[in-house]
């Protein structure tokens, strides 16, 4: 995979840390839930950072927080990607529920734009209201997520660490009850190798065995996830 340099054109401090805007070449367009793997040139960093889109797809990609505190606007980043598998919004979805659990909603925002573009109604179950959220998106308190079971036909979750075992109860599902429609989750785990090393630190337990979120995820069908 070729390495590509791009500029971090803007940096803002949000509730969940630094978020930014990257100027991307035309051939790099991560899908919602996919990520770029990048590091700042000349900074002696040991690790690259997973950069998730937090806005509509385009030449300027809004990047979800948190970004390293050592980064500054105007820095050149070297990136590779897009990596991993992202969300698959069904073309027929008309009532889309988005719910970050234990984290901010930014990584789900690209899905909101996609859903609106196919004339779906979108509800975001979140206590945080991100900048630039389209006005057509309805904001609902996260405690009301169980209501989505009666309303939505697609659910997308962003699961902070520790929420993999608890999303069912947050969504109002009883023990053994299945989600009555298609749902997916972006599982937040540390990513070290960006799909190169099979090191296992990002391993996620699925019905078909261990899966590496860095290349097979980080988005999984909810029906596939094991606690």
């Amino acid at each position: 995979m070729p390495k590509i340099a791009c500029e971090l054109v803007e940096l803002r401090l949000g509730i969940d840390g630094l978020e930014g805007t990257l100027a991307l070449p035309a051939n790099i367009r991560p899908q919602p839930g996919q990520y770029l793997f990048g590091f700042a040139l000349g900074q002696s960093e040991a690790l690259a950072v997973a950069l998730f889109p937090a806005g509509p797809s385009g030449e300027l990609m809004r990047v979800a927080p948190p970004l390293p505190s050592s980064w500054a606007a105007g820095m050149q980043l070297q990136i590779r990607g897009p990596l991993g598998s992202g969300f698959r919004l069904p073309p027929g979805a008309r009532r889309v529920a988005l719910a970050p659990l234990g984290c901010g909603p930014e990584r789900l925002l690209p899905l909101a734009y996609l859903a609106l573009a196919q004339d779906a109604a979108v509800a975001l179950f979140s206590s945080a209201i991100p900048d630039g959220l389209p006005s057509a998106v309805e904001i609902i308190p996260p405690e009301q997520l169980p209501d989505a079971l009666d309303w939505a036909d697609y659910l997308a979750l962003d699961l902070a660490q520790g929420w993999l075992a608890r999303w069912q109860s947050a969504a109002g599902l009883r023990e053994g009850q299945k989600l009555p429609f298609f749902g997916q989750a972006l599982v937040r785990v540390p990513v070290a190798c960006g799909g190169l090393g099979e090191c296992g630190v990002c391993a996620v337990r699925t019905r078909s065995g261990w899966s590496l979120a860095c290349k097979d995820g980080p988005v999984y069908d909810l029906a596939e996830l094991e606690r």
């Binding site: 002696s44 590779r80 070290a192 630190v201």
Partner: protein, 251 residues
């Protein structure tokens, strides 16, 4: 004990990947503008190793600690999945073995004996294994293939390292040491260390290990061409890259 003559260990380029950095088979993911001399597999145990329950990555100034449980599907499954790619590889493939008993070492070496493309065996000495115990693992790895022994760079000055040459070992790899850090919950987690902060240690270890009279592979802490060249100048026979392959190469 008598040892059969082994094949010679050769490299077309002294720049290779460290075990654990690029998976189990060559895939063309070499981001460095210097030719790769060999492909080293991830560590492979005799039996499946599942991810550690408390697996984690913890950053610190100069690097990061990685605790994974050395995940791998076990030698039999690795051979089933990857042997054909090893045989087709344009690069020499060095298979890295992880074993804590001489019996396991012997069995694993025998299972690799007939495979094409495998040009060397790397025996990783497990953590907290030293002296006679480590030497017994090395002695069990009787094979016609060249044997590379990998130890943490902190063992570079140990007396038993000097006895490896007499056991028919072809090269000594000085790998990243282990360390411990508190995780987000305050629990102390042990794991192996990766990052440019290790460079002064690996350079010192190469100087120290020259007395082992073996070709040395510096397998930690290299993030730039200059660092790798400094190690080669200091007496390393090869340089193995780890974290920089994941982060990306900068020139």
């Amino acid at each position: 004990m008598a040892f059969a003559a082994r094949e010679e260990l050769t490299l077309g380029s002294p720049w290779i990947n460290a075990a654990g950095s690029l998976g189990f088979a060559p895939g063309g993911d070499w981001p460095v503008p210097i030719p790769q001399g060999a492909f080293v597999t991830n560590p492979i145990s005799l039996r499946t190793r599942a991810p550690a329950e408390d697996r984690t990555l913890i950053e610190y100034p100069g690097g990061f600690l990685l605790h994974t449980g050395v995940v791998n599907p076990g030698l039999g499954e690795v051979i089933k999945r990857y042997a054909s790619r090893w045989a087709r590889s344009m690069l020499p493939v060095w298979v890295h073995l992880l074993a804590d008993s001489p019996e396991d070492v012997l069995q694993m070496v025998q299972e690799l004996e007939s495979l094409e493309g495998v040009t060397a065996i790397v025996l990783g000495v497990p953590p907290r294994t030293y002296g006679e115990q480590a030497l017994s693992l090395v002695a069990a790895a009787g094979s016609e293939r060249p044997l590379v022994v990998e130890v943490p760079l902190t063992a570079a000055g140990d007396g038993w390292i000097g006895r490896l040459a007499n056991l028919g070992v072809a090269a000594l790899s000085l790998a990243a040491p282990r360390g411990a850090l508190p995780n987000a919950g305050g629990e102390i987690i042990g794991g192996h260390l990766v990052g440019p902060g290790l460079f002064p240690q690996v350079l010192a270890a190469v100087r120290l290990a020259r007395r082992a009279r073996l070709p040395l592979i510096a397998s930690a802490g290299v993030y730039t061409r200059e660092q790798g060249e400094a190690l080669l100048q200091a007496g390393a026979w090869a340089v193995a890259l780890d974290g920089v392959l994941w982060r990306g190469w900068e020139e």
